[in-house]
Subunit: 237 residues, 2 copies
């Protein structure tokens, strides 16, 4: 970190970092709670997740406004400019992660009184556990400016996509086996898709860390393995 | 628009406006083409939509970088600062709209060889037509700084959500009627969800216009009518 003559500038950057850390904490908790609520069909916990989203929206707006004022007032260069831009980007991703966790929580409310076998939910839980680990790792990497750790998260996105793809087929198969599973499994499909997209936002944050540390855009295609957009399943096949 | 002593500053803002108009044009075309491709199961057109998305990504990155440099170099105040921030926000929404249209196009490829009744697709087409109109109106409102037109778009988001909600139930019913519809209808469900989310981004742009023109955040809850997160359908009910 470079040193500044104007110490209140350091304070501004410090505030920005603190607010992003707070957003990260809220987003992590929302995702963990949404997953527990889904597994236990706990509508009370789901409602708490839905309520938490407001805080994330407020924080994102604040970060965006403060960052822009910071840029306008201080005219930061190089690493400091990148840090401010990165703050805007990361807060955008964390806000979206909160939205997606909130959407999972809303679906928990929808399916709360359904009694489908728990096994179906466990695939989504497993996928969510992996993505939560990714999110934790990428937030740590952001706080410590750890490029290797960020690259590691970036590489792992393909695993999540492959898992989503297999879960997509599995859920379609359950739906074909018994029409009573359709409504439930449709909500689970959207939950799984939300988890997969949270994984994408985690990968975005990894790319932002790369930009923050190196000043360059991460080259190359993402290690995508999501073929579910192209997948179909045939009944009885 | 305020007048500037430094005329190259006006040029910078003009460039920003032009790039956003270009992004808007690309996003509109992607959405229109993705919808036609879906209705006609035209995989060639779908592939074109998928390819267009790269241009949108490049433009968004450019707008973001140029806007931030503009803020750092020129220290704009009031309306000019808001215009630059608005440019960043709108380009982010247009980039997401392109992603969602691309996702519809990918699903067209998945369901191209399926022969389900065309009627099922028409509901998604109708919803897409409405959202395309919203997108056109909001881009016009942005270009002309027309606050009334922006508010009108903002108010109409509830209609789209209500339509999505009824389509969601309809698609679930088709799935329950015949398991051979499940794979196809699942892709259509995701297409409809994508269209609904494009509607959300259109509403975001309307909110940005409000901020751009008035300097204030649009107060009040969005006119949401999307109950589908909470919806379930029972077979034979």
């Amino acid at each position: 970190m470079s040193e500044h003559i104007v110490s209140s500038y350091d304070q501004d950057l410090e505030d920005l970092r603190r607010q992003i850390a707070e957003m990260g904490g809220v987003a992590e908790k929302m995702m963990a709670d949404a997953t527990v609520a889904l597994v236990r069909r706990d509508t009370g916990l789901a409602e708490k997740v839905i309520a938490s989203d407001k805080r994330l929206d407020v924080l994102q707006r604040e970060i965006e406004e403060r960052s822009v004022l910071l840029i306008a007032r201080r005219q930061p260069l190089a690493i400091d400019l990148r840090e401010t831009i990165s703050g805007i980007r990361v807060s955008g991703d964390l806000e979206r992660i909160g939205d997606l966790a909130k959407n999972i929580a809303k679906r928990v409310v929808a399916i709360a009184d359904q009694t489908q076998p728990q096994k179906i939910v466990l695939g989504v839980e497993h996928m969510s556990d992996l993505v939560q680990e990714q999110l934790k790792d990428v937030l740590d990497a952001y706080a410590s400016r750890n490029l290797d750790a960020a690259h590691d998260v970036w590489e792992r996105d393909g695993q999540i996509d492959a898992l989503y793809n297999s879960l997509f087929r599995e859920l379609l198969t359950y739906m074909m086996e018994d029409p009573r599973n359709i409504s439930f499994c449709t909500h689970l499909l959207f939950c799984a898709k939300n988890v997969e997209r949270i994984g994408d936002h985690t990968t975005n944050i990894a790319e932002t860390i790369h930009y923050l540390v190196t000043g360059e855009t991460l080259a190359g295609e993402r290690p995508k393995n999501d073929a579910s957009n192209y997948a179909t399943v045939t009944p009885g096949a």
